[in-house]
């Protein structure tokens, strides 16, 4: 591709009649972008909240009025010298002629220097209301398929409100989200590396953002037979799989073959119900030769109470249903009610739009309306906005609390208009026995407003990116918000849930991370995400239907073993991604295998024996195993709080903890039963493997195990050791 000329290719498409009155150099459209490009207003320099050495600019130049005051009017106007522009402090500092902590940022003979000097010489005019506004920028091309080790130049065009277009390629700022696949330099020159994959380049100019999406196919391999690979993967081109197939083909990636039945039933039982399949379930499934056995399995699993418990646990995390740090015995009633409500909702397959609406618009007491408990954890303007945006819209809008979002279109006005939806959330009653009152009643206050922190303007309730809601004084803005959010054409809602569920089952969202949707973090397979979201909306927000679609996809059924044709790929779901069992599921699985339930410390009551970790109402149940394995503290709506990072303590917990020892040595546990039965070691080993791994032992495994068992004189000790060893294997600890 040819590279466009550099020096200001000004495309004067429609010059306005009054153009002669417009200053040659615009502060907003020309000066500020230069400051941004040279990082003068970056968060590490003058753009941070406290400024730098007494000079503060708005972060990334989103507030040109503020910047003008800072640059021209503050410090007795010493930063610009209209009479001798070259002697202006801002130019002297930027060029390093006087000491500058940020070093030399602009060359004196550069175009940027000339623009700044011309602006000062022309009287350093400020932003004007009547000057053309930058409405958007475009990147050309906006997507492309690039070979490995190739390059492309991007053309950035600014579009102004007077119809004018301008090449601003030299003045933009560029950043790649995957530099190891495709990188970009300061002149919008994109270069791909030696490996394939997907990448995006964020282009920023004058407060506007555009994105280039690059696809770099892996080098073609002569030994790849795509059709046989797709067949082995059981990919169905007539289903949603077509979007996966298209992606694989685009990237020259072949999927791994489908997983075997044993692996699949273990995987899906864990993923839907947080529970291991029993040996009987495994053998029955494997022996079942009917074509619909997979869908029947899914249906069965979705009906199980463990499914409701497992997903209620997930929602309790997202809804921050926490009991810790409030140090209130009575907090447990509220957390139990909210988790139970989530569990009931999931058990009843409550439509997702209704589920979310009930949370967002909750009023009353926790007894009458358990979703009001959400408002115990979420109680400030910041928490309302960020929790709702992240949990239900997949948007991380936190940045816009203090400044315009640097990588998105969200402004502070968007943030506080969104917050205004919650300005009339009233609280009363309850008792202040802890950090926050317990058992409050949530109601619609008669008044309450949110003001823009910078301008002081009272913000009207508004959806993200939309116009103000039309409300009467007796309307609860949250109802309008819920209605907007759950409408079929909402651009975020269904996609976020579809992506969240895809991430749950596939280990990685189509948008990744799952709750960081933005134009600069595009989905790896937009067509797939669109199709999933559409399917979800058309089903009436039927979450189980969504789960059936996802678990029925070829991607979910693939083996986790990589092949030479997908080894380096992590984005196209060409193999099942291994992941460690979550803390609660792992603990429950150990209890299940060893047939010894965990005793959970309670308070104020006592959890009945047999209570599972996935049944716990909140995180304030002290058990170190769960904390060591990453149980979240539920202080944000981000699922990323749940950690699956490895740690030495985890290994110690598995091999050395009292809890594991207790379960291995319990008089009425599985080990005791094994050691007391009359079955042969071979029969027992087969059952042990089915319980632990959901598969028969391989012959060499069986042989090794039997030899070990026979070598150990103490039968109980022998089985204890065998189980102890198997529970510490990756095959047990991981879902694969």
């Amino acid at each position: 591709m040819s590279r466009p000329g550099f020096l200001s290719i000004v495309l004067l498409v429609a010059l306005p009649a009054s153009s002669a009155e417009i200053p040659t150099v615009s502060f907003r459209n020309d000066v500020v972008p230069i400051l941004t490009r040279h990082a003068c207003n970056s968060g590490g320099c003058h753009g941070k909240a406290t400024g730098q050495n007494g000079f503060r600019l708005s972060l990334l130049g989103f507030e040109s009025d503020f910047d003008y005051r800072a640059l021209v009017l503050e410090s007795r106007g010493r930063r610009v010298f209209r009479g001798a522009a070259d002697d202006s402090l801002m130019l002297a500092k930027a060029t390093g002629r006087v000491p500058h902590g940020g070093g030399r940022r602009i060359e004196p003979d550069s175009e940027d220097y000339r623009v700044l000097r011309d602006w000062i010489s022309s009287g350093a005019p400020g932003p004007r209301l009547d000057e053309p506004q930058l409405e958007r920028i475009t990147v050309t091309p906006d997507r492309g398929v690039l070979d490995t080790a190739s390059s492309i130049d991007l053309l950035i065009t600014a579009h102004y409100s007077d119809g004018r277009q301008q090449d601003v390629t030299q003045r933009g700022l560029y950043e790649s989200n995957a530099p190891d696949i495709g990188d970009v330099d300061h002149l919008a020159h994109v270069t791909t590396a030696s490996r394939g994959g997907l990448f995006a380049v964020m282009v920023r100019f004058g407060g506007q953002i555009a994105v280039f999406r690059g696809t770099v196919p892996f080098p073609p391999r002569a030994d790849l037979n795509m059709s046989s690979a797709l067949k082995a993967a059981r990919a169905n081109p007539d289903s949603l799989d077509r979007h996966l197939i298209a992606q694989w083909k685009r990237l020259n990636v072949a999927p791994s073959p489908a997983a075997d039945d044993e692996t699949f039933i273990r995987r899906i039982t864990l993923d839907i119900s947080g529970t291991l399949p029993t040996p009987d379930e495994v053998t029955a499934y494997v022996a079942d030769s009917s074509s619909d056995k997979k869908s029947r399995l899914v249906d069965r699993l979705l009906e199980r109470p463990e499914h409701a418990s497992y997903f209620a646990l997930k929602w309790a995390d997202i809804l921050q249903n926490r009991g810790r740090s409030y140090s209130s015995r009575r907090q447990r009633e509220g957390t139990a009610l909210l988790t139970a409500w989530a569990r009931d909702s999931i058990a009843a397959n409550k439509p997702y739009d209704q589920f979310v609406s009930e949370i967002l618009t909750a009023t009353g007491s926790q007894e009458r309306n358990p979703p009001t408990v959400w408002y115990r954890s979420v109680r400030t303007t910041q928490e309302y906005v960020e929790s709702v945006a992240q949990a239900f819209l997949g948007v991380r809008i936190q940045c816009a609390q203090c400044h315009h979002h640097p990588a998105e279109r969200w402004s502070q006005a968007d943030y506080y208009s969104f917050a205004a939806n919650f300005a009339r959330v009233g609280r009363k009653g309850g008792f202040a026995d802890a950090e926050v009152p317990t058992s409050e009643v949530i109601f619609l206050k008669n008044d309450g407003e949110v003001a823009h922190p910078r301008t002081g303007v009272v913000m009207q309730p508004r959806p993200l990116g939309g116009p103000d809601f039309q409300l009467t004084r007796y309307d609860d803005p949250r109802r309008a918000l819920a209605k907007w959010m759950t409408s079929p054409d909402n651009p975020f809602f269904a996609r976020t849930m579809a992506n969240r569920m895809w991430g749950h089952f596939l280990g990685r969202g189509i948008v990744h991370p799952i709750d960081d949707s933005r134009s600069t973090n595009p989905p790896s397979n937009p067509a797939l995400l669109d199709a999933l979201a559409r399917e979800f909306v058309e089903s009436g927000y039927d979450v189980r239907h969504l789960m059936r679609v996802i678990t029925g996809s070829a991607a979910y059924g693939l083996s986790s073993k990589s092949t030479p044709f997908n080894r380096d790929d992590i984005q196209s779901f060409a193999r099942f991604e291994l992941r460690r069992l979550s803390a609660e599921v792992l603990l429950d699985s150990i209890s299940q295998v060893l047939e010894v339930p965990t005793v959970f410390a309670g308070g104020p009551g006592k959890f009945p024996l047999g209570t599972r970790a996935i049944d716990l109402p909140d995180e304030n149940v002290p058990i170190s195993f769960l904390d060591v394995f990453g149980r979240p503290s539920r202080t944000s709506a981000c699922e990323c709080e749940r950690s699956d990072d490895p740690a030495l303590a985890q290994a110690l917990e598995l091999v050395n903890s009292k809890e594991i020892q207790r379960k291995l040595t319990a008089a009425d546990g599985y080990v005791s039963r094994l050691s007391a039965n009359d079955l042969s070691h071979a029969d027992n080993v087969r059952e042990v493997f089915l319980k632990v791994f959901a598969r028969e032992p391989r012959s060499e495994e069986s042989q090794t195990a039997i030899e070990f068992l026979e070598s150990e004189p103490d039968r109980a000790e022998a089985y204890r050791t065998l189980l102890w060893s198997l529970l510490a294997t990756n095959e047990f600890i991981f879902n694969h």
Binding site: E333, D344, G429, V441, N446, K606
Partner: protein
């Protein structure tokens, strides 16, 4: 423990305390010449000493234990049967019987541990109170439910679904979550098409259980769950899908459990009424009411009924009076009046409210200002906010200067709403008044009476039409026909209700020791502009029991009420009947209130039908108050005290100990003071038997009749001296008889100059500047002296007289060389206003002057 019996004296008919008081002259408020304390002590010592000698000098009078009933099991029974009941609690010694608020329910016991209650067949279904008659008096109450269904008690081992206890359909099971983590299961056989209603009574029978109900099919699949329908008590309406055995699981939400976690589980297919629309009807007028519930009719006839069935019935309420109501009511419901309607065959009665004017039903399409429904004053409107966010609009005509009282009932009639009433102009654009929560909690934690229903006063600004908007600030996301309300718009028609509640945050009955007193609080719930005094009187008291009238002064909402028992009064176990009378609102009977369980963060109390009272034990000490002693004045002789704003209330307190050889100081302070009166504390030292406490009646105190009580704190011995002569003691809180005083209009207000000196040296002479601001047109002479209720010690004041229009001056104060150091309690400037040489008006202010070296 050895107990001393009442002293036998030859004075037949005269009790111990009477004897004491006769022997000991009442302390008199004198001017600088108080009665010699030592002589008073000597006089009182005689009979006590005699009694001590007679009884071997080993008396012990520990405070009577408070009998508290923690649970009754089973907490109900079937009419027409007898039921064996066990009880548990504290202070329950020598229980002779259980007594029910329904008089026909009788009790027998052989061992004082198991009680057989016989419930005649004609006892209506309903909620009653049960208490124990113990050696320590009456216990606090517990709920007891009467039903016409068969009853059974929970079997022991039913902790798993597979071990579910079989129970029959149409029965009530009494169970208990007896330990933490306990889960109970019951199996019931039902047939396809039956609508089975499973209801758990727990909180409604004073249980600690926070119940959760679940229903499982025979395959172990959970079919239904509920965690709260009537408040936190759950109910499941279950349509049986196929013939079979279904299991019901009961457990505590947070897996708590104890002997007090009792419950009643009813599983039946009979008619059940949940609520009615309208929820209230006009007295004496036959009205058509729609009942909502289950198994009422074959099919629902109302599109708004949702999950409920409905049936229309004609109800004729009583024209006057209200009989005892078999309902469990919370403190806020004291302001509601209702009667029991029993739908034929229904498991329980439903409470229908009563109105003294016709009831208007809200139309279904009044959800916008143009569709506002006209109502006229007085208006009593029954409405229903079926959908969440629904607005009901009304319009009314009113005249300038009219005072209207708006009162809406939602929470108080059991509806899941938080009502808000707004009055707007005719265009519905401008809000003129808004009424929201009635959050004032007069009863505090002992009787939490706050609620979310709005009420308030509105002065009509101009002749014309106004809009009234009713809405709920909470609501379910689904349509809910239970969201009913009553809107009352009335002119100023004063009204009130009275509740009698324990003085402390304890479940307790009113047990009066012989020769002693017991105290309760009377709360007044004033409505529609009632601000004047309310007089509370007891009726039908047994012989030997006194309960002087008490007054809730203007604007006062709480007054202590004291019941005194004579020394040799007969045993009595019954109830205290109280009624209140207000000049503009007539007479009302007081309701009882009880603390259900103490220690709840926001309180847990309820109303009771009766105010239980008994005579129990003997008092170790008694204090007596007199707020009307004469004042001796050097110039004007003995003066009858006239109380007015800006004057003093002096209360003389007499202490009478049963054991005179034990002496301890008694700290006295006021109880039940109107909020504008600052409390004071004084100490009657050990060895003295009388003292004073004085209160300044501020100028802002409204004219009227008030009652206060003096509380004393001291120790009493609980046993004989040990080998070293040391006695075990316990702290006791005791109360005097009530002191009622009339506050009359003031003639002047005495005030110290704010720069007046606060110290005087021995031998020093000070000029203290003060004023006597004349009010209410008083022009005559005002004479001022120094005064203290017992004696002015060590200082003298030269009296000052203002004549004509004079209203300020100096009083000269001289400290003697041997004046006692420190402050003298209750020292004051005492002024009398003189009319024709008669000292008629009194006014005082404290003189906080300290004598120093």
């Amino acid at each position: 423990m050895i107990r001393i019996r009442p002293v036998s004296t030859p004075n037949v008919g005269m009790d111990f305390w009477t004897l004491c008081v006769r022997q000991q002259p009442r302390p008199q408020v004198s001017h600088g010449n108080a009665l010699s304390r030592s002589s008073a002590s000597r006089q009182v010592a005689v009979p006590l000493l005699v009694s001590a000698i007679l009884l071997g000098n080993c008396a012990a009078f520990a405070a009577q234990p408070n009998p508290v009933l923690n649970n009754v099991f089973p907490a109900g029974g079937q009419a027409g049967t007898s039921v064996d009941v066990t009880i548990a609690g504290s202070g329950l010694t020598n229980v002779s019987e259980l007594r029910c608020s329904h008089p026909a329910i009788t009790c027998e016991t052989e061992n004082g541990k198991l009680f057989r209650l016989t419930i005649p067949a004609d006892v209506p279904n309903g909620h009653y109170d049960l208490c124990a008659v113990t050696g320590n008096g009456l216990s606090s109450v517990r709920s007891f439910i009467v039903r016409h269904l068969k009853e059974q008690s929970e079997a022991d081992a039913n902790d798993t679904l597979d071990a579910a206890s079989a129970v029959s359909l149409d029965s009530v099971t009494n169970g208990r979550i007896e330990k933490a983590g306990d889960v109970d299961h019951f199996a019931v056989e039902a047939k396809r098409g039956q609508r089975v209603v499973i209801e758990c009574h727990a909180k409604r029978i004073d249980s600690k259980l926070r119940a959760v109900l679940e229903v499982y099919d025979s395959a172990g699949r959970r079919l239904a769950v509920n965690r709260g329908f009537f408040g936190i008590d759950p109910l499941i309406s279950f349509d049986v899908p196929v013939d079979g055995v279904y299991r019901v699981r009961v457990f505590d939400l947070v897996y708590s459990g104890s002997a007090d976690h009792i419950y009643r589980l009813s599983i039946d297919t009979g008619p059940r009424v949940a609520f009615a629309v309208p929820a209230f009807v006009q007295r004496g007028a036959t009205s058509r009411v729609k009942l909502y519930g289950w198994n009422l009719s074959n099919e629902s006839t109302d599109s708004d009924a949702g999950r409920f069935e409905t049936v229309d019935v004609d109800i004729t309420p009583p024209a006057t009076g209200v009989s005892a109501s078999p309902f469990r009511l919370g403190p806020p419901q004291i302001e509601t009046t209702g009667f029991a309607y029993h739908y034929p065959g229904s498991h329980a009665p439903i409470r229908i409210g009563l109105s003294d004017v016709p009831v208007t039903r809200a139309v279904v399409d009044n959800h916008s200002p143009p569709a506002a429904q006209p109502i006229s004053i007085p208006a009593e409107v029954s409405g229903q906010l079926v959908t969440s966010g629904e607005l009901d609009w009304f319009k009314l005509e009113a005249r300038r200067g009219e005072v209207l009282w708006v009162d809406a009932f939602g929470e108080r009639i059991g509806a899941p709403v938080d009502l808000d009433v707004t009055i707007l102009d005719a265009s519905a654009e401008r809000e003129l008044a808004r009424f929201t929560d009635q959050r004032q909690n007069m009863g505090g934690i002992r009787f939490p009476s706050a609620h979310s229903d709005p009420s308030g006063r509105w002065l009509v600004p101009a002749d014309g039409q106004y809009c009234v908007l009713v809405r709920s600030l909470i609501g379910s996301s689904d349509d809910d026909p239970r969201q009913v309300y009553r809107l009352s718009v009335r002119r100023e028609e004063p009204d009130f209700d009275l509740a009698v509640v324990p003085r402390r945050d304890d479940p307790a009955a009113l047990n009066i020791p012989r020769g002693g007193r017991a105290i309760v609080d009377v709360l007044a719930f004033r409505r529609r502009g009632l601000t004047g005094a309310i007089r509370v009187s007891a009726r039908n008291l047994p012989v030997g029991v006194e309960c002087p009238d008490v007054w809730l002064g203007p604007g006062v909402n709480r007054v202590p009420l004291v019941v005194t028992a004579a020394e040799r009064v007969d045993d009595f176990t019954g109830q205290l009947e109280l009624e209140g009378h207000a000049a503009s609102a007539g007479t009302k009977q007081a309701r009882g209130g009880t603390v259900v369980r103490k220690g709840e963060p926001t309180g847990w109390s309820r109303l009771t039908d009766q105010i239980g009272m008994s005579i129990a034990g003997e008092a170790a000490i008694r204090i007596t108050a007199d707020g009307h002693g004469m004042r001796k004045h050097d110039l004007y002789g003995d003066l009858q005290v006239r109380h007015s704003p800006g004057s003093m209330l002096d209360v003389a307190v007499q202490v009478d100990r049963r054991e005179i050889d034990y002496q301890a100081p008694v700290t006295i302070t006021g109880v039940g003071l109107p909020s504008v009166i600052r409390n004071q504390k004084a100490t009657i030292p050990a060895g003295r038997s009388s003292g004073y406490v004085s209160f300044y009646l501020p100028p802002t105190l409204a004219v009227g009749q008030y009652t206060i009580v003096i509380q004393g704190q001291t120790t009493v011995p609980t046993g004989p001296p040990d080998g070293k002569g040391v006695r075990k003691t316990e702290s006791v809180t005791i109360f005097t008889n009530p002191v009622t005083f009339s506050v009359q209009p003031a003639a002047f207000i005495v005030d110290l100059d704010q720069d007046a000196p606060q110290r005087i040296h021995r031998g020093e002479v000070l000029q203290v500047k003060y004023s006597a601001r004349r009010v209410n047109g008083f022009l005559s002479k005002i004479h001022t002296e120094l005064f203290a209720p017992d004696e002015v010690r060590g200082i003298r004041g030269r009296g000052v007289t203002f004549v004509g229009q004079t209203n300020s001056g100096n009083i000269q104060i001289i400290a003697n060389d041997d004046a006692p150091l420190g402050r003298q309690p209750f020292l004051r400037l005492f002024a009398v206003g003189v009319l024709e040489d008669e000292a008629v008006y009194h006014g005082s202010c404290f003189l906080p002057i300290e004598i120093v070296e």
